[in-house]
């Protein structure tokens, strides 16, 4: 039998129900639906009441929150000191077409040493990170990004299916390449040696890869084998890849490879090469000996060497700060617009005269209010355009 337990039964039928159900013979089960707030769609609901005051304060609040955040972010980004040196054009014989450059870079017999001098303009606190930056390099290309075998990287041998993506760098003479795939094959192989005021500057090349990668993604007992770049002579005629791999270093010890194999999402990216664990001061002159061997010439790529400090937000990137300032500013502007409209054309909210059926019976819903609302209409349209302009 149905018992209405709700303390505030909302319907008259609910209150009379007990009497009605009691009158039924006991054998007859009532088909009366059970009462609950959920089934009756009467769950207490919070219905936020929109008022212009609220909206103005929300936009103001967003503005007030965003602008300081933006200023803060921008400030910290500005504090980051970066030394960027683009070297791919200066480090090869200046003359020559693209073909000539490609030929130059692919010629393994010529030495490609190149010396660059970097002037420290501002004091840089340790740690200072050394990155190489590539432009127009599509590590996110579909063919490239999949061309690896995680199984092989960890265990050394892998199933056919796992290695299927490695093509065309999968097998040489029927033996699997370790590590297989295009990513490993195209490993960046420019090298740098630093001198600070003609004293050798120690670069820490350890700990540049993610710990989790070294521990769990790359095997400690997997050694490179059959790796094509180790036999540049053998690739006679075909394209030369990137760095060679020391067959006696396990994969998880080769941090450059691990860093490289964290593919970048954009065609412009920096990869960590090492860390300088001392402060640099304004006026310091850093001499870098670059072994410029990596081919970016065939696709008009750029190579840059970057020395940078970091802030609590990471590297130098004004975007976040500026975006915060813009959004915050727009938000305040929006609040102002609302205030302006409210002053210029105050409109009584919830005016029943706006209910179209009260204005003119039988009028189509689609026709906009005009009889009483000409003023508001004009105002509204004007402001509407204004708002739209602001938004876009």
């Amino acid at each position: 039998m149905e018992v209405v337990s709700s303390s505030e039964s909302p319907t008259s039928s609910a209150s009379t129900s007990t009497a009605a159900t009691a009158s039924l013979p006991p054998s007859l089960k009532s088909r009366r639906p059970k009462y609950s707030r959920f089934t009756q769609q009467e769950l207490p609901a919070c219905k936020p009441m929109l008022t212009t005051g609220w909206v103005i304060s929300i936009f103001m609040a967003v503005g007030v929150l965003f602008i300081p955040l933006g200023a803060c972010a921008l400030n910290s980004s500005k504090k980051v000191v970066e030394i960027v040196d683009q070297y791919e054009t200066v480090c090869i014989p200046s003359a020559g077409t693209k073909e000539a450059r490609v030929q130059y870079i692919q010629d393994i017999s010529t030495a490609k040493a190149c010396t660059r001098q970097l002037l420290v303009t501002k004091n840089m606190a340790k740690p200072i990170y050394v990155y190489y930056e590539l432009h127009n390099f599509f590590q996110n290309h579909r063919r490239y990004v999949k061309s690896r075998s995680d199984q092989q990287l960890l265990y050394g041998n892998a199933s056919e299916s796992s290695m299927a993506n490695c093509d065309p760098q999968r097998l040489i003479a029927g033996k699997p390449i370790v590590p297989c795939g295009l990513i490993a094959w195209s490993l960046f192989n420019d090298t740098y040696s630093f001198k600070l005021n003609s004293v050798a500057l120690v670069i820490n090349r350890k700990g540049i890869a993610w710990d989790s990668d070294r521990k769990d993604k790359f095997g400690g007992s997997v050694y490179p084998s059959n790796f094509p770049n180790n036999y540049p002579a053998a690739t006679n005629g075909s394209i030369i890849g990137g760095a060679s791999l020391d067959p006696n270093t396990p994969l998880n010890a080769n941090e450059d490879l691990i860093v490289w194999m964290r593919t970048a999402a954009l065609p412009v990216f920096r990869k960590l090469w090492g860390k300088i664990e001392r402060d640099l001061y304004a006026g310091d002159l850093i001499t870098v000996d670059i072994n410029n061997v990596y081919n970016v010439y065939s696709f008009h790529g750029k190579k840059k060497l970057v020395l940078a400090t970091t802030s609590w937000l990471g590297g130098k990137n004004h975007f976040l700060g500026i975006a915060y300032l813009v959004v915050g500013g727009l938000s305040i502007a929006m609040a102002m617009v609302f205030v302006g409209i409210q002053i210029k054309c105050p409109r009584p909210l919830g005016d029943p005269s706006y209910l179209s059926w009260n204005k003119n019976k039988g009028r189509d819903l689609n026709t906009s209010p005009s009889a009483t609302g000409v003023h508001f209409e004009v105002c509204g349209t004007f402001m509407f355009l204004e708002v739209k302009a602001l938004c876009s």
Partner: protein, 1109 residues
């Protein structure tokens, strides 16, 4: 009901004479009576099967059906393409998993439904029946009945197959059956044993032999043409014609007859019922159709995107990719190389049409249906009937109804005829407070043995076709084909003129305790032309001959004898009918013996004539029905159901047009229409009659009405015009003047169609549907079933006339007044919710898709997926499905407000919340949000932070944050469930991904931990939300304040009312505490006015109408 049936007979061409039809049908089947086992395999056995599948064909048949739908084909195609590793951006399992799940869920649902049907069939098939086998009555299962078997049935038994009656307990060979399961009519019908078999006792019936020739099985339940011939030793007649009056059809019930037996002629699925049964085709709602259309548009967009990106990708590849030595494209490409990139993009974009949309819509729809089932406001205490949504898939259509076509009797009215008033020889009995039966004046007259009153009551008791049936405890109940007659007879019995018994030719009536017996000599049956019926009786004691007549006022007045004043009665009848009462006049006269003899001969002649029989009978009847002595008039009330007028008024305010389709006569229909608010009374409203008995008459009438209507609509003379048309005129109008009729109907918000047949009802529904209007048909009887099934939404009233309509309908209600809530509350909410749900579902997948598309421009247009398989699958299934499902609880405005302002329904009717332009808004929003997420992510995560997996997860979480805010922004009322769904979902997203980040093998290993520890990540999220939601919120607020929709205005008023109410109570508390309140009294008065104004009708017209009443 009775009237309708007669109409149908009228509407039909004269019956083909039996002989000719028999000759045609000779090629059918021959049934050897009592030899069911002779050819057991010739015809199917009586096994009923309504199931769609069996064990073997279930899988292929079900799959075939599921792949009949476009969306499923699309999903399958995508899933198959994904098996090609060269092009698939993600793991194929991410599509196959959900796809298989969806398919198996709907297959399971089908299987379950079919299993239930199987169980019902089994129950029917295994019911035990008595059948004569080898001359012995044996009890066998119903499914083992063979054609030719003799089946014995007792009272209350269900007829297991189509049979021809051979014997019954009644010596006259009469058997009563109830056919409500076939045609919904609950009155008892008489079936007679064919005359060669009359009088056979049960022993002979065991041995009877003969042959029946009948046609092939068909579905026409009103027709049965067969021949019966008995073999010797039984009377070896020539072929005896069998009609539907000799049959017992499957699933009828035997009533008021102790036993009956018959021979099975059609069995199993070949019975009339079995042939007409069939699963009605599923209904598609307007919302569904619109979603299909939008999905189609998305599909086109997708194809365009794929083609463009495919071209661009191939172009980029041929110009740029060759230079990328590290990508190492092979020099020799296979022939299909050129389609690889387009196909990759196809797969990348395939999530534009999310599988989840179908699932979440189905879920939401079943939720709406549950809310209808659960609604206590639509539960009728008296009959213990809740509202039931039989069809769970079409709730949205309720909110878009533009035309309601309603039956009258039993739908608008209670179908409970009550004898209210009468007028006997100029004196009226019964007033507004008391029925005539309780009027002391009448009782006094009765006690005084007033002869006029007794005459009047005798006519009431005798002149009818009511069958009294005596229950074991001695009480008499009446079964009648017409509810009016039943009301008259029971009223007479209340006044102690009791119809005791009715045998074939004899009626026993107890008049004030003294039993009078009448021989019924002739019955002059009711026809709609004569509009009256009479009986000629001879009183046994005195031998006097009398003609007792009842009929419509005009029919009786024209045949009363000249020196009688009918004016007084005519006035009273007019008064009665203005009160919406159904009136009948009663009259009688004495007949001289010789006059009767003369007439009787003519009558017999006319009755046996073959040509124009009806017309001839009518002619003869006129000879008898003249010089009548007018006794008075009766007034029967068919009470309007509670709240009908308000319901119709509200729904008319909501912009719904009403058509009343009734079998009743014009005047009553018009009267009921007025009292139901169908049309405003004069002078604001006007009823225009379309009449005529010939094609040209109808045409002229139509044109005249149309002209009047055009004039009145241009001059705004009337607020409300309605046309009234009767069945015959409608027939002509639909046949010859369709165009004219359509024009007329489009000008009229209301139409009253009287004397229409069930098929005409269905035709009208079809007609309105053909004008692209959403129609709802509501009815209560079997005669409404066809219109209910024809309409977009069929609603059945589970009332007095059985459950036939309710069973065929999509929704069944106990009372008409619940329709208001069903449409305004459930329909509207369902529409709003589905509109949001569907557009949001596409929006959220579009956001992800746009990000993928944008990403392809920075990844060499190579079709790289930014997101990994797990994220792509979980995005639709886990991350975004929960909050949006909580929107099935959302209410934009309160139920109360909707019911007060039904006009707001026009938004739904016009499809203002789901149409190409709203969808364009969502599309734009998806584009904008996609861009926001992509640009911000790609600008924050640059240089050393530009790591694929991290960027992917940052973009994904940006989407999730935006989704949460979008859902919140589009939600009007937040219940706890919504809070949990929106907030909890966000938390769940992080938990999921943190868990996934602990899995070593996934691509996401440690990623979530990594980004969560970055301050930049949280700042990015905040920025995405600010930049993504800000403009949208600003636009929304701007619209809300300066371009408010009607919904917004009501929302605002509703909420302000609540706030001011709360303020008023708190401020009055404050005022009582401190003698000088902060608010001045005038201010508070204004506030009070404000708060109460919501509950006042805002409509001027409403006020007028209330004044009128």
């Amino acid at each position: 009901m009775a009237e309708i049936k007669e109409d149908e007979e009228d509407a039909r061409p004269p019956r083909i004479s039996r002989d000719s039809s028999n000759k045609e049908k000779n090629s059918g089947r021959c049934v050897y009576i009592n030899e069911g086992d002779r050819y057991p395999d010739l015809y199917c056995n009586n096994r009923v099967s309504n199931t769609k599948y069996n064990l073997w064909n279930f899988l292929p048949k079900n799959l075939w059906e599921q792949f009949g739908r476009f969306m499923n084909k699309y999903f399958l195609l995508i899933a198959i393409l994904q098996l090609w590793p060269l092009i698939t951006p993600v793991n194929p399992a991410s599509t196959w998993g959900p796809l298989l799940l969806i398919f198996s869920v709907s297959a399971c649902k089908e299987a379950w439904d079919d299993y239930n049907r199987y169980k019902l069939d089994k129950q029917a098939n295994e019911r035990m029946v008595w059948v004569v086998k080898k001359g012995v009555k044996t009890r066998i299962q119903a499914q083992d009945i063979h054609v030719g078997d003799i089946v014995w049935l007792r009272e209350k038994d269900e007829v297991p197959c189509d049979m021809i009656l051979l014997g019954s307990s009644d010596p006259q060979g009469v058997c009563y059956i109830e056919t409500s399961t076939i045609d919904g009519e609950t009155d008892l019908k008489t079936r007679v044993v064919p005359s060669p078999c009359i009088g056979l006792n049960s022993e002979l019936l065991h041995k009877i032999k003969g042959i029946i020739e009948c046609g092939y099985p068909d579905r026409d339940i009103r027709r049965f043409d067969a021949n019966l011939r008995l073999f010797p030793p039984f009377i070896d007649t020539d072929y005896f014609p069998i009609t539907v009056n000799n049959t017992l059809l499957q699933s009828c019930f035997i009533r008021n007859t102790e036993w009956a037996c018959g021979v099975a002629v059609y069995t199993g699925n070949e019975t009339k019922l079995g042939m007409s049964r069939g699963l009605p085709s599923p209904k598609l709602t307007a919302v569904d159709a619109m979603i299909d259309k939008l999905t189609g548009a998305i599909f086109v967009f997708q194809v365009v995107v794929v083609i463009i990106l495919g071209f661009a990708g191939n172009a980029w590849k041929s110009t740029e990719a060759d230079k990328l030595w590290y990508v190492h494209y092979p020099k020799a490409a296979p022939w299909y190389e050129f389609i690889v990139i387009p196909l990759r993009f196809e797969l990348l974009c395939s999530i534009m049409i999310p599988i989840s949309i179908k699932v979440s819509l189905d879920l939401a729809k079943s939720m709406y249906a549950k809310f209808i089932d659960w609604d206590l406001h639509m539960y009728d205490e008296k009959t213990d009937t809740p509202a039931v949504a039989t069809n769970t898939a079409i709730s949205e259509d309720l909110g878009q109804i533009e035309y309601i076509l309603t039956d009258k009797t039993g739908t608008l009215t209670e179908n409970l005829m009550v004898f209210k008033k009468c007028c006997i020889k100029g004196s009226c009995y019964g007033d507004s407070t008391r029925d005539a039966v309780k009027d002391p004046a009448l009782l006094r007259a009765l006690n005084e043995n007033d002869p006029e009153v007794l005459k009047f009551l005798t006519v009431m008791a005798v002149c009818n076709t009511v069958v009294p049936s005596r229950s074991p405890n001695g009480s008499i109940s009446y079964k009648a084909q017409s509810q009016d007659e039943e009301a008259l007879v029971s009223a007479a019995s209340h006044l102690r003129v009791v119809l005791l018994n009715k045998a074939a030719n004899c009626v026993e009536v107890s008049v004030l305790g003294a039993v009078l017996e009448f021989d019924i000599l002739d019955v002059l049956e009711f026809t709609s032309d004569r509009k009256k019926m009479s009986v000629i009786v001879r009183e046994r004691q005195t031998g006097e001959l009398k003609l007792l007549t009842k009929g419509a006022d005009e029919a009786i007045f024209s045949s009363v004898h000249n020196d009688q004043q009918v004016r007084r009665v005519a006035e009273i009848v007019d008064q009665y009918s203005q009160m919406g009462l159904r009136t009948l006049c009663l009259a009688w006269r004495d007949i001289r013996e010789e006059e009767y003899h003369d007439w009787s001969r003519k009558f017999k002649e006319a009755s046996s004539s073959i040509v124009d029989r009806e017309w001839k009978i009518a002619e003869v009847c006129v000879l008898m029905e003249r010089n009548l002595e007018l006794l008075g008039a009766t007034a029967i009330e068919d009470k309007l159901q509670d709240g009908v007028a308000e319901t119709i008024e509200s729904l008319r305010d909501a912009g719904i047009n009403f058509w009343m389709l009734t079998g009743d006569k014009q005047l009553t229909a018009a009267q009921i229409a007025l009292s139901c608010n169908f049309v405003l009374p004069e002078p604001q409203g006007q009823l225009l009659y379309v009449q005529g008995a010939t094609q040209s008459d109808v045409g002229a009438s139509l044109e005249r009405v149309l002209r009047t209507m055009q004039i009145s609509s241009t001059e705004h003379k009337y607020q409300d015009v309605a046309f009234v048309i009767d069945g015959l005129a409608l027939e002509f109008a639909l046949k010859y003047y369709r165009q004219l009729f359509a024009e007329l109907a489009s000008l009229c918000r209301t139409a009253i169609c009287c004397r229409v047949t069930p098929s005409q009802k269905a035709q009208l529904v079809h007609l309105v549907k053909s004008w692209e209007f959403r129609t709802l048909a509501i009815g209560d009887g079997g005669n409404d079933v066809r219109m209910i099934q024809e309409a977009h939404v069929g609603v059945g009233i589970s009332g007095r006339e059985g459950l036939q309509a309710a069973r065929a309908a999509d929704y069944s209600l106990a009372k008409f007044r619940f329709l208001k809530r069903l449409i305004l509350v459930h329909g509207r909410y369902s529409y709003n919710r589905s509109a949001f749900l569907s557009q949001y579902s596409i929006y959220k997948s579009l956001v992800l898709c746009f990000i993928q598309i944008f990403f392809s421009f920075v990844s060499g247009i190579s079709g790289t997926s930014l997101f990994n398989s797990f994220s792509l699958m979980a995005y639709n299934v886990l991350y975004t499905s929960v909050p949006v499902m909580a929107s099935v609880l959302d209410k934009d405005i309160d139920e109360k407000t909707v019911l007060q302002h039904p006009q707001i329904l026009k938004y739904c009717q016009a499809g203002r919340l789901l149409n190409p332009s709203t969808f364009a808004g969502w599309f734009g929003r998806a584009l904008f949000h996609g861009a926001v997420v992509f640009l911000i992510t790609m600008h924050v995560y640059v240089n050393e932070k530009s790591e694929m997996e991290e960027v992917s997860l940052v973009a994904l979480s940006g989407c999730i944050w935006l989704q949460a805010f979008v859902v919140a922004l589009e939600t009007s009322s937040f219940t706890t469930i919504q809070h949990i769904a929106i907030g909890g979902n966000l938390v769940a997203f992080y938990i999921f991904n943190l868990v996934a980040s602990t899995v070593k093998w996934g691509g996401m290993y440690t990623i979530m931990f990594r980004i969560c520890s970055q301050r930049a990540y949280w700042l990015t999220m905040l920025l995405i939300v600010g930049a993504g939601i800000g403009p949208i919120a600003a636009l929304k607020f701007f619209r809300f304040f300066y371009r408010p929709s009607l919904i917004n205005i009501l929302q605002y008023r509703e909420r302000r009312a609540r706030v001011t109410e709360a303020n008023a109570t708190s401020s009055s508390n404050a005022a009582s505490a401190t003698s000088s309140g902060s608010t001045s009294s005038s201010q508070r008065a204004a506030q009070d006015e404000e708060s109460s104004s919501v509950y006042q009708p805002l409509l001027l017209s409403t006020k007028d109408r209330t004044k009128r009443q």
